[in-house]
Amino acid sequence: MLDPALGYIVVLSLVVLLGAAALHKLQAPNDFVQVLAAYRLLPGCVAPIAAQGLPLVELATGFALLLPGSRRVACIAAAGLLTIYGCAMAVNIGRGRRDIDCGCRLVSDRRPIATWMVIRNACLATAALSILLPWASRPLAAVDALTIAAGALSAALLYVSIDALCSLSVRSPDIIRNQ
């Protein structure tokens, strides 16, 4: 049984994550097309369409997570997106193409893909799927609002810190492949 306060923390954190990811992609659409093409997973003509579609899918998933009716479908979609990104990175690491841009933050910071990102995505996908567990029914008190808001904020801050720390351990090449 999942306590509703915990459940809402996970939901809210995922919404923030998906929203931020979509925002980065929408801010630099041309960069994202390049990043996606560099992964060399989609045929040349599909990549630009996918680059336009993915941020919209992310936004829609985030929005659907907020609505109780569509939450179960949305958390499967969120886990699916995270798994697809993780697999795309794993395939390119397997190919030895470790120097392509991960596309995590696009314009602000270009970083090569790494194994820890695949593990990170697996953990996030598991968290998204945990929402599928049956939720305990208990009335939410005022203090739960604090738990949920502060919990989601803490999760976001922790995510950014872990992200920054893991990037340090990877010696980033100064030239990142665009093709």
């Binding site: 604090l146 904020l153 803490s154 801050l157 810190s161 920054a164 340090l168 990142i176 665009n178």
Partner: protein, 202 residues
């Protein structure tokens, strides 16, 4: 119940403040990580060896002037070829040092900047960093000829077209180590300190 709520609020506040501090520390760590660089221009094992003639690569700079990198200079001037990129942060911190070297070493040295990629991005980089004083070459062939894998990378070619020193340059010390290496006749500062260590041992 009230006591629990107050303690809960207090603890959340502490958790969030601590996380913000953690974030600031990791950011600071990242800045330090960028600043700390190995001392001495680093030699890469691949590519043209010091003491060998470099291939003659004809290139055009952004102003349209032609240069032949590696051609012997009649005036007896050496060439410092510096590979930079608009997206490389260390390159930006190296540019003022290069500008001062351009004037300080002007009696014997020409400095050429080389890069690769989108021409418009290069032009705006030259404009924003005020690099008008340098010939700026955009050529992918040049980077391949010198096997440049990490930036900023510099190669010092003497007036006969012989490679005298090469390596990654992150600071004034690295850049001057290349000039020093040429003066002493060593290819890299590491080769120099290696020979000194052997000398001391003997």
């Amino acid at each position: 119940m009230n006591a629990l709520i107050i303690s809960n609020v207090g603890l959340w506040l502490v958790v969030i403040v601590l996380l913000i501090v953690l974030l600031a520390v990791t950011r600071q760590l990242g800045i330090l990580h960028e600043r700390i660089a190995p001392t001495g221009a680093l030699m890469l094992s691949k590519g043209i060896k010091v003491g060998e003639a470099v291939p003659k690569v004809p290139v055009q700079d952004l102003d349209g002037a032609s240069h032949t990198i590696g051609a012997p200079s009649a005036a007896g001037r050496a060439t410092l070829l510096v590979f930079v990129s608009p997206t490389c942060p260390v390159c930006k911190s190296l540019l003022p040092i290069l500008k001062s070297s351009l004037t300080a070493e002007r009696t014997w040295l020409d400095i050429l900047l080389a890069s690769d990629g989108d021409i418009d991005a290069q032009r705006s980089f030259v404009h924003s960093q005020r690099l008008g004083g340098f010939p700026y070459v955009v050529s992918s062939g040049l980077g391949i000829a010198y096997q440049v894998s990490r930036l900023p990378f510099a190669a010092l070619i003497d007036s006969n077209g012989i490679l005298r020193a090469r390596g990654i340059v992150n600071s004034r010390e690295h850049l001057e180590s290349l000039f020093e290496a040429k003066r002493l006749g060593f290819g890299t500062i590491q080769a120099d300190s290696g020979s000194m260590a052997r000398h001391e041992a003997a």
